[in-house]
Each structure stands twice: as C-alpha cells, then as structure tokens.
C-alpha cells in the first residue's frame, strides 16, 4: 500500500477510535521483520512498546524495515516506511513526517511520543539518512 492510498483511507475515518482501529489494521499488514535482527542494537528506545529498525542502501535508494510488539505502533511504522522507503538519503532527510501525521489526524501521536516513541523513530531514521 503506498502513501497516497493510506492518506485516502484516513479521509474516511470519522473519529480517533476509528483511526486507531485502522492503525491496528495497518499494523497487521506490516512486512515481516527478520527474527535475527530483533537485537538490542536495532532497538529504538524511548517507547513504552518495543521497536526495532534496520536500514539498507541499494544504489542511491534507502530501504527501512521495522517492527514492534504493539500493533498500533506497527501501524505508525507502516506509515513511516511508506513515507521513507525507496528514497534517497536527501529525500528522507527532507520528508515532512510531522506534516503527514497532522494531515492524517494523528498529531496527538506526535505529542504522545513518550508513549509510542514516534519522535524517536523519526529521529533515528533521519540520523541514519544523514550518515548515509
């Protein structure tokens, strides 16, 4: 599912409960994460739930894979991956994740970063892109 499709689907959701239910649906469809990569080194700390993130670069394009033990967080990760995957490091650095979550009606998820670690995940991705 690409970002455009996700954004369109969010437009039909009426309240935050529905948005969370949709996040859970998205989370169920997150690509499998390699078991052997669920290591402490790949952990993104700062979330109540566990999050792992790895990246690869092929040519000038970056690919991220991520996982969490919470489905809502997996849903947020799926949106992040749709935003960031298959982009150049420069595009990753410039992508407006905050604006996207606001458009989706998930701005509260940004302010509640202590609970879901969204900020930490965005920060880690930007850091990886900056070092690429």
């Amino acid at each position: 599912m690409d970002l455009k499709e996700i954004e369109e689907n969010f437009e039909f959701l009426e309240d935050s409960e529905e948005r969370f239910e949709y996040l859970i649906e998205l989370g169920k469809g997150l690509d499998d994460f390699p078991d052997d990569q669920r290591t402490d080194d790949n952990r993104v700390y700062g979330c109540q739930s566990k999050v792992w993130l790895i990246s690869e670069q092929a040519g000038d394009r970056m690919t991220f894979q991520a996982d969490s033990d919470a489905f809502i967080v997996r849903g947020l990760l799926r949106i992040l991956l749709a935003l960031y995957n298959d982009r150049t490091p420069q595009q990753v650095g410039e992508a407006d994740a905050e604006g996207l979550f606001e458009r989706l009606g998930l701005e509260a998820q940004l302010t509640q970063g202590r609970r879901n670690g969204l900020h930490s995940m965005i920060k880690r991705i930007r850091q990886i892109a900056a070092e690429a």
Binding site: E17, Q48, S49, A70, F71
Partner: protein, 413 residues
C-alpha cells in the same frame, strides 16, 4: 440491579460528587477511571484544604514567630497525631512525613540496610514487591555484602508462607513486605510473616501503599516495626507520604538527609541531630500536601470504612465476575484475598494496544510491568493490563470496561 445494589449505587453516586476530576470528558465520552492504584482521585475537602493554606496560611513552618507561620505550623503539626491515629499508633513522634512510599522505603533501606547491614546478614522480600520495596533493599545488600532473599508465590499470586518460614532465619535482619501487591491485588498475611520475623529478631517493614486506600490499617494488629504509605493513593495530594516506625528504631537510625530543620546544634566541628521526628524532616517540608493529606484521612474516616468497603467490595466482586466470564481474558493473579486490582492479559492483544483502545472509549487503565518486573517474570509476561478500583467506581464503569474489552478483542480476533 438488585435492591442492595441500588442502595450502594446511590451512595457511590453521592460520593462521586466530591471528586471533580471524575466528571472529565475523554474523547467526548465520560471518563471511566480505573487507575486508582496508580493515583487515586482527590475529593473537594482535600483541594479546599490546600487552597486554604495557600490563601490564608501561606508561610514556612516551625521557625517563625509571626502569625502566619504559627497558623501554618499548627495546621501541619495537627496532621501528625492524626496520621498516628489513622495507623493505630499512639506516639505522634513516630510519624515522619516523606515524599511518598518510595522515599520512605529508601529512608528505611538506608538506615536499616545500607548503614546497618554486614556481610552474612540477610534481607527478605517477596517476589511480588513493587520495585520501590525491592530495589532499595537490593542496593543496600550490594553495598554491604548482605544477601537479598526472595519469597515466592503460587500461580494465584499467593505468598508462599512455607517458604517464608524456611527463608526467614537467624541471619535475617529485615523482612520487607507489601501489605497488598500493586500488580496482583493480593493481600499478604503480614501479621503471620511478622511473627516469623520476630522469632528471629528481624525488623518488619511494610509497604502499605496499596492497602491504606482499601482497609483500616493498624500497625499493632499487623505487628510490624515500620510502615509506609503515599498520600496520593489515599485520595490525597501527590508528593507526600507517611513513614511510621517504632520510636527505638527511629532513634537508632541515622538521618537520611541532613540540612535545615533537623539539627540541635551546628558548629564547625560537629552537628547534633534534633529529636524525633524532626531528625528525619530536613528542609522545608511539603506543607500544603501534609495539610491536604490530613483532609484526605479525615474524608476517608468520615465516609466510614464500613460504607467504603461495602461499596468497593460489591463493585470489585462484580468486576471479577464479569471479567472472569470473558473467555478471552486471562487473569494474572487470582488470590482469594485479592482486593482493588484486576490484572489481566488478552492473548494476541498487546497491552499497549489494549490500553490505548480503551482510552479511546474514555476507559483509563494502566498497562506495562507496573514497576513489578519480578512479578511479571513469575507469571511469564512482559506486561499486563491493570484495572484498579476505588470506592467511587460504579457497576456501570465495570460494564464500560467489559464492553471495551469485547470490542478490542473483536478487532484482533
């Protein structure tokens, strides 16, 4: 609802009017507050008592000769005998105001542990302790070369008394036990454990944070030597708690913090400590919070334990019955003595998701390890969802929780 419940329902409805925060709307829905074990709501008399201090008594205590300072000192010191009496203790000097249970237990782990233990000594705790009654003792043992021993529990979350009798022995210096487990709701047989400990001359420390909101707590009946609780779980302010300990114990312990207000005389060569309880109250205390705590204890006693327990037990029994009946809910902890707390998991539903989805419906529960990782490990889980109850919770709120759980379960089904 049957008729005895109608009476209880009316009593609860009346009591709720005293708690303004219970009227908050969450996402356009009525708040269902099932997180009182983390922090209980505050009734108007507590809010008013603190407001009155700031409006008409605002001043530092003890060392002022002026009018306001005397007013504030009187209001503050009036809470000390009140707290003693609340705990069935006779000597107000045995009451030390602390920041909360955590600070009280750190003070005890310093005075009875860090500064008193020697290699070969043992401290005994249970597997169901909150980290606040586990980590300070663990650290004291590490620093002194003493050994920390842990009493386990069975699959229901009942303390293993037989094991306690084996573990507690001549080397035991301190037994630190929660009266009620914050993660499981188990009421522990403190008096029996205290008897075992005293046979060997050990000191008994009780973490009463989760018992004082639910039942009268009497240090004489419990037979303990020290006991700590937090104001904010007893419908009082945050940042204030009570430490009670037998006078001989307090006199023998060194001060935990030093500074103003706790000295007799200071010279360049040495300082002598003030008498009890000032020896343990360095610096300006949480004056408004102590006064608020006094109002909270009075509020509880005015409501009456009989009324409080009748309402709370009925709603909690209803909650247990409804939740146990949900086939997808797995209770974590089911001790016969369970009180105030229902901890559970739903297979395939991460606690974080469960808590977040319930929040969307206005239902406030707590998810995570509840600062009780040894307990979580015992049950083989990382986290649970915990619904906790106070006397202001209603039968309808239980229904709202159950409806929310059914909906979340369907989402993940």
């Amino acid at each position: 609802m049957t008729s005895p419940n109608a009476e209880l329902t009316a009593w609860i409805a009346e009591v709720r009017k005293q708690f303004p925060a219970l009227d908050v709307q969450v996402n356009g829905k009525a708040l269902v507050y099932l997180d009182s074990a983390a922090s209980a709501q505050t009734p108007m008399p507590v809010i008013e008592a603190m407001d009155d201090y700031y409006r008409s008594k605002r001043s530092n205590i003890h060392r002022g000769v002026h009018f306001l300072s005397q007013e504030a000192s009187e209001a503050y010191e009036a809470v000390r005998p009140q707290a003693a009496s609340f705990l069935g203790a006779s000597d107000p000097d045995e009451i030390v105001f602390v920041r909360g249970t955590t600070e009280g237990l750190n003070l005890l782990a310093y005075g009875l542990g860090e500064r008193a233990l020697q290699p070969g000594d043992e401290v005994v705790v249970s597997e169901m302790e909150h980290h606040a009654n586990f980590v300070p003792w663990q650290r004291a043992c590490h620093l002194t070369g003493a050994t920390l021993r842990v009493i386990g529990m069975d699959d229901r979350g009942v303390l293993d008394l037989e094991r306690a009798a084996e573990v507690i022995g001549p080397r035991t210096k301190v037994v630190a036990l929660s009266h009620v487990s914050n993660a499981l709701g188990t009421v522990n047989p403190v008096a029996e454990v205290a008897r075992l400990a005293h046979e060997h001359g050990a000191v008994v420390v009780v973490d009463a944070a989760q018992s004082v909101p639910h039942m009268p707590v009497d240090v004489t009946e419990l037979g303990c030597d020290a006991l700590v609780f937090s104001g904010h779980k007893l419908f009082g302010p945050t940042g204030i708690g009570v430490l009670w300990a037998r006078r001989e114990l307090l006199e023998a312990m060194p001060p935990y913090q030093v500074g103003g207000g706790m000295i007799q005389e200071v010279t360049a060569e040495k300082t002598t400590w003030a008498d009890l309880p000032m020896k343990f109250e360095a610096g300006t205390p949480a004056i408004a919070e102590v006064i608020g705590l006094g109002a909270a204890m009075k509020f509880v006693l005015d409501l009456g334990w009989e009324n409080i327990q009748a309402a709370e037990h009925a709603v909690f029994a209803y909650a247990k019955e409804q939740l146990d009946a949900l086939p997808f809910v797995k209770a974590i902890g089911s001790a016969p003595s369970q009180i105030g707390v229902y901890s559970f998991e739903i297979e395939g539903v991460p606690a974080y998701d469960l808590g977040t989805m319930l929040d969307q419906r206005g239902v406030a529960v707590r998810t995570g390890h509840h600062c009780a990782q040894p307990t979580m490990r015992r049950f083989g889980v990382d986290a649970t969802t915990r619904a906790s109850f106070a006397f202001y919770n209603t039968f309808e709120e239980v229904d709202a929780l159950v409806a929310g759980l059914k909906r979340v379960h369907r989402l993940f089904g």
